[in-house]
Symmetry: D2
Subunit: 166 residues, 4 copies
Amino acid sequence: MAIKILVTGGTFDKEYDEINGKLYFQNTHLPELLQLGRCRMDIEIRTLMMIDSLDMNSEDRETILSFCKKSEQEQIVITHGTDTMEITAQVLGQANLPKTIVLTGAFIPIKFGSSDGLFNLGSALAFAQTLPHGVYVAMQGKYFLWNNVRKNRSSGIFEETLNNKA
Amino acid sequence: MAIKILVTGGTFDKEYDEINGKLYFQNTHLPELLQLGRCRMDIEIRTLMMIDSLDMNSEDRETILSFCKKSEQEQIVITHGTDTMEITAQVLGQANLPKTIVLTGAFIPIKFGSSDGLFNLGSALAFAQTLPHGVYVAMQGKYFLWNNVRKNRSSGIFEETLNNKA
Amino acid sequence: MAIKILVTGGTFDKEYDEINGKLYFQNTHLPELLQLGRCRMDIEIRTLMMIDSLDMNSEDRETILSFCKKSEQEQIVITHGTDTMEITAQVLGQANLPKTIVLTGAFIPIKFGSSDGLFNLGSALAFAQTLPHGVYVAMQGKYFLWNNVRKNRSSGIFEETLNNKA
Amino acid sequence: MAIKILVTGGTFDKEYDEINGKLYFQNTHLPELLQLGRCRMDIEIRTLMMIDSLDMNSEDRETILSFCKKSEQEQIVITHGTDTMEITAQVLGQANLPKTIVLTGAFIPIKFGSSDGLFNLGSALAFAQTLPHGVYVAMQGKYFLWNNVRKNRSSGIFEETLNNKA
């Protein structure tokens, strides 16, 4: 089964600048993560942007949507900053595409060694292979439907918005 | 959703003995992996044994089967050495339990830092949540049915036994 | 031989806040680093402050100096942010204490996994045991006298100020 | 100051074979360690052999001695398995060369992520720069003279043989 990964940036791919001590973006770490995971799937990676999801605007989201539409693969994983993942999920969900689209991200940059990114990538790829068509957020081991998820800003926990019984 | 993890050892949990330079087993690293992954699922871990899967005998496999039978959770992930994972999968598969059972493992010990274990654990937990009842092997990003999988000993790749078209 | 380590913060001990994505200070990582290094020296660690060295003022430097003065150990290692390490070295150097004082730091936080901190700590402890009384900066494998060192802000390289021939 | 590093193998450079689960040697990790440490010294690396120090014979030690003799650099660091480090130190020490030679190693392979190797390398390079001519073992933060050191096989601690007061 073939899977498309669309890269948009987020904490996932942030780097640490040794000279000025600030975080910044350079290249995606997706290929090295897939190698670490000894992943043997047929995967095509496409970087659409490398931005903090707080800086993502509606035009950026249209770009993501358009790449989902024209993707040959029916299974799509999108790496995305956690702060506005739910907003992008809504834009994609309302488009009602005949595809399984899974957004995922990380709380700790890959480069910082103790990342949740590798765990989340493993689960997102699995969800993309098994869930019915629709748009989902995969974080912290769970998956959420696009119209029933939010990131709790104070606790950092992803939760359902409707029947939140964690 | 609640998930049970049954720990049996395997490369996953091997440690390096600094004094004699040999690999050995101590405690499972599953709890720290779930914490690294910021996993928020309702998970119960039970260690059944800590052995190399080349040393696993049919009695050990009966033990694993019996714990699958009596597990309250319908979703079960089993960590297991890769060398005989397919044999245990067959024992469990023939029992035809009304549960989703996913076996997973690692090629590199968790403690060696560059492990595929975190990736595989993420995918195994996701497959356990989404696949129909049955017994599966989850490795290298893919899942396989218990009666259609083998580890290629020379390449280290998991592949289908029947219609092997990767 | 007994060595005193005085902790002042710096990149060395910075942590990543998963919720707000900013760097901050919590506890020092010195004990775990010494354990990683299997260090068997008689070492006493004292945390004096946990600050970015750009925020260090002359009062802070007087505190460091006073702890150097009253240290029972003649060998002292100070962990310090790299940005103003040379200024603190000058304050300590002008005091002309009958002790060997070595300032060191890191370009990458310990917690980010790929740190130079462990390497620098190893060299700083060695320089403290072998150099004559005086104040030194130990970075990037080298040592510098307190009155002949600066951090090149654009390249991030520590270099001599007088006869700079790298 | 220029330093020569002679590589002989040892736990330092051991790798984990994913297929057969055994440890083996491939290439030295010294260059990547020096890069991790942001080392800016003038260093020349020469690999002499890649063996377990339990397999090192007197011919191998003659090879090491001969490279120490003809080294242009007066400061030499030798990476070496810990098990027979003291024997090689004796061979080199009795030659009485007008050079500072520091043997070091690791209890955990570099590739296993939690190595003491980076710490030891930092200290060995520092000792090589500051100690008078002679042959030394640098492990666990300390240095030992070639004729007064042994590895305690049961505890894994390097200690003095004469006045052993830890």
